[in-house]
Amino acid sequence: MEDLIPLTPQLWTAVGETLYIVGLSLLFGGIGGLLIGLGLYTTRSGALLANRAVFGILNVLVNIFRPIPFIIFLAAAQPLARSVTGSGIGNNAIIFTLSLAAAFGISRIVEQNLLTVQPGVIEAARSVGAGRRRIILTILIPEALGPLILGYTYIFVALVDMSAVAGYVGGGGLGNFAIQYGYRQFNPVVTWAAVAVIIVLVQLVQFLGNQTARKVLRR
């Protein structure tokens, strides 16, 4: 325990870094995933922008990228991360790779949640003359908002998990903290401290997500 107290500043820095990595990844990956998810939903046959070719390409793309284990994806995407962020290692590189991986994962969650919206509701909007963009923004997304918030909460938790791998490519955060000061120093208490902080963080975010979703769903 006495080993942990002098590490407190490092622990706080690690928490900050994890939040920074996960927050930005959720933002970029979230936007990317929303766009790909909307693309999948709107181009499937019978939908607003039905287009077999676009749907097929998006579908295959998502199926290729989504199942790759993140640690392998991280290594494979390193050249790309380097050319985009200027470095293959560090927080920004991992945010790039994490966002990319998250976007494909989120796209399926978005697609699934949008599919729960009754087609009749979309038809009702079409019947009063609403255009496609208006329907997507004012009907489709608001109607699916509750489950979408829960989906994004789930992704936040998954991103905390994935971000722990960041330590392997020189990124910071709680994963790196646990490896560097706990595992490598043979100090399980430090590792457990990192675990405890992650648990608190995840609980907090899940609680906030549930509350917001409940408010939106009014139940």
């Binding site: 019947s127 009063v128 255009g131 208006r134 009907i139």
Partner: protein, 342 residues
């Protein structure tokens, strides 16, 4: 020119699998719906009536023939050019299809936002509509807090928001209980009478047609098999499927099976007399039978009031000499159809 006109309209869907023939949903549909009327379209599920009504506001595209609404072509027009037409055609649905994420007021306001009306206009118009459908106190409620009848009233208010000329009702009462159905039908009659809106009603319930429509088209397997005034179709259905629908609300000539049941309880000859208004009265028939010394008992049937006109089928068990009965029936036969039951 008719407000809604369909000429030789057809609709086929591409086959589900390559190599199979295309699926025909509608074939050679011709309809003229006049401004101000309530036009009913009845058929069993799968007859194509839902597809037909969606051709009118372009939710589905026809694959043949010509559709015009209020002088504007609908067939072959791309979706983005249908906005002004759709603002002129309201639509209500079996499952109401309300926006669950929006309050009652926002649901009703939605078409007005699409139409680009100002905030003040939207507030004034939604207040007017809330009062018209009797839901002023529910303005801030969400759809899940409403009963089925209230949901459909919101649906009607939303459909009327942009002051359309036409209202399409797709099985609008099929998800409602009988009492609520009457409530919604009464509201639709008000929409027609007070606002002068032409209504196209799609249903599989003959009761709805009987209570609401002025003219009716009967659909079967993607075709219109019979159309005409509601009184004409009810009192004298020509096609088999029309007869089946009419029999759900009108007791006509008893079927062979029903005749057997009647025979087990009643003696003597059995005849069905079919009346239509303006021809001959029941009183005259009964007098004639009594004068000939024929005993009679009413065993089956009834008189119906449709669009304010009466018709009906009365089945009588007759007791008396054959000659007396023949004489009496021949005397009343004028204007009344007599069917001898075996």
């Amino acid at each position: 020119m008719a407000l809604i006109s369909l000429r030789n309209v057809s609709k086929t869907y591409p086959p589900a699998r390559r190599g199979e023939p295309p699926v025909t949903a509608l074939q050679d549909i011709s309809l003229e719906i006049e401004a101000g009327e309530i036009f009913g379209i009845i058929g069993y599920s799968g007859a194509g009536k839902s597809t037909l009504v969606r051709l009118i506001n372009g939710l589905e595209a026809s694959t043949g023939g010509e559709i015009t609404v209020d002088g504007r072509a609908v067939s072959g027009v791309p979706e983005r050019k249908l906005k002004s037409l759709r603002l002129d055609i309201g639509m209500i649905f079996q499952q109401f299809n309300l926006f669950n994420s929006k309050t009652v007021r926002s649901n009703i306001a939605y078409p007005l936002r699409v139409a680009g009306r100002s905030k003040d206009e939207i507030t004034a118009r939604t207040n007017e509509l809330l009062a018209f459908v009797g839901l002023t106190d529910k303005a801030g409620s969400y759809p899940e807090q409403l009963s089925g009848g209230q949901k459909q009233r919101v649906g009607i208010a939303r459909a009327l928001a942009a002051s359309p000329k036409i209202l399409l009702a797709d099985e609008a009462t099929s998800a409602l209980d009988p009492e609520t159905t009457q409530e919604v039908l009464a509201l639709l009659r008000r929409v027609n009478r007070e606002l002068g809106i032409t209504i196209v009603v799609i249903t599989h319930e003959m009761e709805v047609i009987k209570d609401l429509a002025t003219r009716v088209a009967v659909m079967d397997a993607g075709r219109i098999v019979e159309q005409g005034g509601v009184f004409e179709v009810f009192s004298n259905p020509r096609e088999e499927s029309s007869r089946r629908f009419v029999s759900t609300v009108v007791r006509g000539i008893p079927s062979a099976e029903e005749v057997r049941t009647l025979r087990s309880r009643h003696e003597g000859r059995m005849v069905t007399l079919s009346f239509r208004d303006g021809h001959s009265s029941q009183a005259a028939v009964f007098l004639e039978l009594a004068a000939a010394g024929v005993g009679f008992e009413l065993v089956y049937g009834g008189i119906n009031d449709i669009s304010g006109r009466a018709f009906g089928h009365l089945t009588l068990a007759l007791k008396g000499a054959d000659q007396a009965i023949d004489g009496a029936l021949a005397a009343v036969g004028h204007g009344i159809k007599v069917t001898e039951l075996g």
